[in-house]
Subunit: 169 residues, 2 copies
């Protein structure tokens, strides 16, 4: 079990692209419906380059969440995404960028979420505020609509213009 | 991936007890709600003696079903059953019995399902009819209420007398 502490930010401009030291394509979907309040965890299947995993995470929103993750064969994940996923399969490219001792993950969404780019940084504790690269904008850690579970329900293409520009909480 | 072919029967009397060569205690729960038609698979966490696993199975009912199973640490399973399970955790003792070259699994349910005893046998193909021990009663392979996913929703103690006696489909 891992207690995950991370902050999530909007990304502004394209300055991050040339700083990335790694890029991997992700396809992921959920085996349960996060919008249904009876569910106490999210259950995600992800294909990450040539690997796959199953991720079970408590449904709390915020900086710190209970999380379990297990590697599974890619062939299993492909069948699960095709047959068992609820809602659309989310596709994105993830880029890794190092900045002043912190590693940032920038997710450039594709398909129905094209146009959305968010950055996450993992932290040692909830008090840490990381140094921010100049392409990092507003923090959205506590905003539900930017979470993958939410994007599988209501993709970026369906957001209002104000929501797309990060102007509303 | 494994395509599971099995038949399920009611058990009559106690004759099977002395034939068992192995007995293990099971505690299991579901991370999603089988009664919700939006779900396309069941997701089960099981502690099986001193081991645990995560099982993902297509929601079809019948002899043959798609199934994936992964071992996980018992400590993870304990937290998941406590925090993430929907509906009651099912407890049962499973007994293994060999009869004329076939291995039978007899599940003696406990707690809210006490009184229910069912036997399952795994088969090579859907056409095989196994030789039946004399403690095996009526076949219930196609009867939804005997499945663990159903028992987690509506336990044996809530069945009508006719249902408990296996008199209705």
């Amino acid at each position: 079990m891992k207690r995950e502490i991370e902050r999530k930010y909007l990304v502004t401009g394209d300055g991050w692209r040339e700083q990335a030291f790694k890029k991997v394509h992700f396809a992921q979907g959920y085996l349960n419906n996060a919008a249904n309040p009876e569910n106490k965890c999210s259950i995600r299947v992800r294909i990450e380059g040539d690997e796959a995993n199953l991720n079970i995470k408590s449904m709390e929103i915020g900086i710190s969440r209970d999380e379990y993750e297990y590697p599974i064969p890619v062939t299993h994940a492909q069948v699960m995404l095709e047959k068992f996923a609820i809602g659309p399969v989310i596709e994105k490219n993830r880029y890794w960028i190092e900045y002043e001792g912190f590693v940032w993950e920038v997710d450039e969404f594709l398909g129905e979420n094209a146009g959305l780019v968010v950055a996450e940084v993992e932290l040692e504790d909830e008090q840490t505020t990381p140094p921010l690269p100049d392409w990092v904008g507003r923090e959205v850690t506590d905003q539900l609509r930017y979470y993958n579970v939410s994007l599988a329900q209501r993709p970026f293409s369906q957001w209002s213009e104000a929501e797309q520009q990060g102007e509303v909480s």
